[in-house]
């Protein structure tokens, strides 16, 4: 387990009864706030600091989520149950994943009753995955034992054929402490390693040797959650594209940039052709520059000719990972500066928790520092001065 989790007390049942009302305090304006706000926020910042910069990332991700649907997922140590909690968090994860990795793909595999079942194929459409997950949101879904090997083999079958430049990943959410496999699982691990598939595991109960071996052999990560919050934090770390393997291939990928056009005649689009309902005939849409098929939404892989269709802003969304913003330094000394207000939000800077951009040496308050690094990815100071206005665009 990571070192920064050590300060939280170990097992939940060893804790005192949680007096959540005592952690609330009234601030100067009469608003309620958590006493340990400061502490939580420092932890968030520490996590940001841990992110490495300037390494090659696997931008075109192909990720399979393996979801354990065994009896163990019915446990109620997460509220209301492990399954429901996981499904809710995964829904958020999928939204975030496609927001930050717009040209990546995702698929979901479930495992129960010693079998593995593909809930959704690899695709770039978040709605398909979300609806696959909501189908499992009912009682008596969790049955029998999971089979790690079967699930991994299912994922491997579709991931191994991907081109060399793609980043192949499996994320396993595992509640059970056991797995029921048809043959030697170590051989599966070796073959996954050969296929350069990175497997990460999130354990919901306790550390399991077989999961740990899987993660270390395939250079993934293995985490066991403490509580729901910790679960969410760990899951969200998988939104950030991982470092690419040293021997990963690079390639130029052919992509289409269709324009949103109005055609004179209304027509059906290719993306809604499969769905029974909601067939819309309209005249506007994106037309594949290669085969002229129509789509209502981007990004999409053309069903007729297989060309990946994206728009320039989709590629731009990934720049925040490729060109990360430099971390601000915390000002600890009492040195006076002429700058009394935070450069971002104009609020008065307090004595402590002041952060300074190393580039433009403008000062920011704690909240702005977090916002700038988590969401904005632009330093207001650097982009407000002419000398620094040219930001890494070679």
């Amino acid at each position: 387990m990571a070192a920064d989790d050590d300060d939280e007390s170990g097992y939940r049942w060893l804790n005192q009864y949680e007096k959540s009302w005592e952690a609330i305090q009234e601030d100067a304006q009469g608003g309620l706030q958590f006493v340990d706000d400061d502490f939580i926020q420092r932890a968030r910042r520490r996590r940001l600091l841990a992110q490495p910069g300037n390494i090659r990332l696997g931008m075109m991700r192909h990720l399979y989520i393996i979801l354990d649907l065994s009896k163990a997922m019915e446990e109620a140590d997460l509220k209301p149950s492990r399954l429901f909690c996981t499904l809710k968090l995964l829904e958020n994860f999928i939204v975030e994943y496609f927001d930050q990795n717009p040209i990546s793909q995702l698929g979901i595999i479930s495992t129960n009753n010693k079998r593995a079942e593909k809930l959704s194929e690899l695709s770039g459409n978040p709605r398909i995955h979300a609806s696959a997950l909501t189908q499992k949101e009912k009682p008596n879904v969790c049955q029998g034992e999971p089979s790690l090997q079967n699930a991994l083999e299912t994922a491997k079958k579709s991931l191994r054929h991907l081109p060399g430049h793609a980043s192949r990943e499996i994320l396993i959410v595992f509640g059970s402490l056991t797995t029921c496999d048809p043959s030697d699982i170590m051989e599966t691990f070796e073959s996954l390693k050969e296929c350069k598939i990175r497997c990460s595991v999130i354990g919901l109960s306790a550390e399991v040797k077989v999961c740990k071996t899987l993660a270390t052999t395939t250079q993934g990560t293995y985490d066991v959650i403490l509580d729901e919050k910790h679960f969410r934090d760990i899951l969200m770390q998988h939104v950030i594209p991982p470092a690419a393997k040293a021997d990963a291939e690079a390639a130029l990928i052919r992509m289409g940039f269709p324009q949103h056009l109005m055609s004179s005649t209304p027509s059906l689009c290719l993306c809604h052709l499969d769905s029974e309902w909601n067939k819309e005939i309209n005249s506007s849409g994106y037309f594949c520059p290669q085969c002229n098929s129509k789509y209502c939404d981007l990004p999409v892989q053309c069903k007729a000719c297989g060309l990946t269709l994206v728009s320039a802003p989709h590629l731009a969304r990934s720049f925040q990972h490729l060109f990360p913003l430099a971390q601000f330094t915390e000002i600890t000394t009492d040195e006076e500066s002429h700058q009394k207000n935070c450069f971002g939000c104009e609020s008065l800077l307090s004595k402590n928790l002041i952060y300074e951009c190393p580039e433009c040496s403008k000062r920011f308050c704690f909240e702005c520092d977090l916002f700038i690094h988590e969401t904005l990815h632009v330093c207001p100071g650097c982009s407000s001065t002419t000398s620094n206005a040219v930001i890494i665009k070679t």
Binding site: I253, P258, Q290, P313, C345, E346, S383, S384, T386
Partner: protein, 309 residues
Amino acid sequence: MAEDTFRRLLVVVCDLSPIWWGKQAANASENSDKMQPINAFLNNVLVFCNAHLMMKHTNELAIVCATSSKSQFIYPCPEDVSDANGEESYGNMDGKYEHFATMNNVVVDKVKNIIEEESADDVNLPENSATLLAGALSMTLCYIRQAERNCPVGQSMKARILVLKGSQDVSTQYMATMNCIFAAQKNNVTIDSCLLMSDSGFLQQASDITGGVYFKITKMESLLQYLLWMFLPDPNTRESLVMPGAVQIDYRAACFCHRTLVDIGFVCSVCLSIYCQLLPRCHTCQTRFKLPSAAMTRPKKKKKEKTAD
């Protein structure tokens, strides 16, 4: 409207690029002896701002100015106004609502200061230096974030940004601007853009992605009317109004090698640079590519590349 508990925050981002306004002034002085264009512009904007504040007592306002060398908040201003010029000089404006009178004076003073500072040190500015839109937008988003945080309990804030811009876009600000747009989209901040005389590709995308209105004004005389008709109603009210139709936005990408718009391009799998033809090596990140199938047809060329290094 009892159920409406939103505090509406409007942040106006004004482009005060001295070069652009200078050109406008030069044009205007040729034809007539009317008011300086920037004065007329400022008057219109202030009327619009007052109108926004008058709509509801919970409405809030902020104004940010962007020039080619800096971006700055001009209202609410960080320094205490009263000690700078004295409260009295602002207060007595025969019959005018005091709050508005103060605000208007603060804004006019600030703008004067900015322009004076600009003219003092803009001698060495290149002709094509552009307004720092990204800087102003990022400051605005930080401010909105802070305003949302400080919102009284039980109320929620709905913020939107109105950008008034005349000068040209510069491609060096592309990444910063796009990041701002995505952050705005994530925080449900609408970006409306009102362009003065010339179109802007950045703001077209900004308004389209965040669901705002994009409009180009061709006559400065009609600025106020457009502002009041189109940009005063909040996004919810707009649904019941007839707004100008959405513009066709060109989302095609420009290739990094020739800066031409491409329909089908090649994207580097490592750094996502866009090229219009196959290359053996990425210009941006220096990665060598394994050429697909093309390598089979042109083995000679690949060999040459290797020996050249």
